[in-house]
Amino acid sequence: MKTIILSILIIGLISCSESESATAKKQCCSAPKKQAAAAAAIDTSQSLYSIDASFTNQNNQTLQLRSFSGKPVVMGMIFTHCGYACPKLTADIQSIEKQLGEHKNDVHYLLVSFDVERDDPKQLRAFAKTYGLDENFSLLHGDEDAVRMLSVLLNVQYEKDADGNFSHSNLVSVLDEYGNLVFRKEGLGADHSETVKAIEALLHRKA
């Protein structure tokens, strides 16, 4: 009897979380509507730029997320000691930059590190050099609270393992020029044509 009740509970929990994530997708992942009249009517009440947490970039400059306002942002969370997934996610974001062609400089590209201990600005600078990231990229280091808060806002899961490395989900997020989360795509080596479309829609809205 107990097992039955528990199974029901478990099914309930799973179906809840599935339908929840489906709703979340509907809310956040559709390209912005009504492009023409949008600029005046954009709701910024849930902008990520309300967070005050400070980060340091690869050039040792202290900044807040809102320092990136004014252009759309493509963002991923990584750590540089990561063997496979993070270089791949970085390459995914580089390929998004490439696909944007002549518009590539109209977008900020952010990589935020999970590894608050090892990924200092110097290490991030070395990573940027190794992977040939251009000056459109900002690699951010923050304290544990700042990084965890950002992960919760973006709905990125991560956990530090006993060996100091991180298990994490792989997610590319797009913010509009006001810091609203408008698009997210999970996975590595994913087809990012929708991501590129979402960014282009933002750029056209602005023009």
């Binding site: 107990k2 009740i5 528990l6 509970l9 478990i10 929990l13 799973i14 809840c16 979380s17 929840e20 979340a24 009440s45 849930q46 902008s47 990520l48 309300s50 990561c82 063997g83 496979y84 997934a85 993070c86 609270d145 965890r148 808060m149 992960s151 919760v152 806002l153 709905n155 990125v156 899961q157 991560y158 956990e159 393992d161 006993a162 060996d163 490395n165 991180f166 298990s167 994490h168 989900s169 792989n170 999970e186 996975g187 590595l188």
Partner: protein, 248 residues
């Protein structure tokens, strides 16, 4: 003399805000889900709130931090159920004063603990503390107690803190009253392989799940981890509250 008083008085008032804290001995915490290396995480000794934060305590925080009033709170940080059991920005039924505050988001819980000079406990800390031996429970084991609680519906009115049971560390109601937020509730919950995609989350809870957990008999742990996995930071739920932790 003034400086001496400043330090002492300040630490006294912080202690008052975060409530009484008790020391929890550290130890090895083996993640609920099996990892590739499957090494336990070492948890250092820490302080944890003797009870969950109450409505009365949370009202003090809201009083001093108006941006956390339910009429003002940013929806990014708390959904529309935030403090829905309060009748207004600073009021609730007096019978709820000593009950744990619920309908609070992760952001609100983290902000409260920061204000109180503390922080939210990690999953590892919380699980270690919650595994503490219970005193005087009418069940053969803690697992039986917890499962019995999980299967009962939420009471119409939440009882006050200290109404469930006390454990070996002196912590009250780690189970039996509410579910509690943890700092890293959004930890990755599948195998320790960063190649994993979102699908791994589903795999962990569907067919492959049973193969990937460290203790297949830990139904209670299974429920707790699926509950945490279904949360988002701005969710406010009627049986979800929190307590704060602190480094030694």
């Amino acid at each position: 003399m003034a400086a001496w008083c400043l330090v002492l008085c300040l630490s006294f008032s912080v202690a008052a805000q975060s409530g009484k804290m008790v020391k929890v001995k550290g130890g090895e915490y083996l993640s609920f889900f099996k990892k590739e290396n499957n090494k336990p995480v070492n948890v250092k000794p820490f302080y944890l709130g003797e009870t969950a934060v109450t409505n009365a305590e949370f009202r003090e925080f809201v009083k001093q931090n108006p941006s956390w009033r339910k009429s003002k709170v940013n929806r990014l940080y708390a959904d529309s159920n935030y403090l829905k059991h309060w009748s207004a920005d600073l009021s609730f039924s007096s019978s709820l004063a000593q009950s744990p505050v619920v309908n609070v988001s992760w952001f609100a819980a983290a902000a409260y603990c920061k204000w109180a000079g503390a922080r939210l406990p990690s999953v590892a800390e919380w699980e270690l503390a919650a595994a503490g031996k219970p005193q005087h429970i009418p069940f053969p084991s803690l697992t039986d107690y917890v499962l019995n609680w999980y299967k009962r519906p939420n009471p119409k009115q939440l009882p006050p803190v200290k109404s469930a049971y006390k454990n070996e560390y002196g912590l009250y109601d780690m189970h039996g009253l509410i579910w509690e937020w943890t700092f890293d509730f959004n930890s990755f919950i599948s195998k320790g392989d960063s190649r994993g995609n979102a699908d791994d989350e589903l795999k962990a809870f569907c067919a492959a799940g049973a193969l990937d957990v460290n203790d297949k008999n830990d139904y209670a742990g299974y429920l707790r981890f699926s509950y945490r996995g279904s949360l988002k930071g701005n969710f406010c739920i009627e049986n979800l509250g929190f307590r704060c932790a602190k480094n030694l």
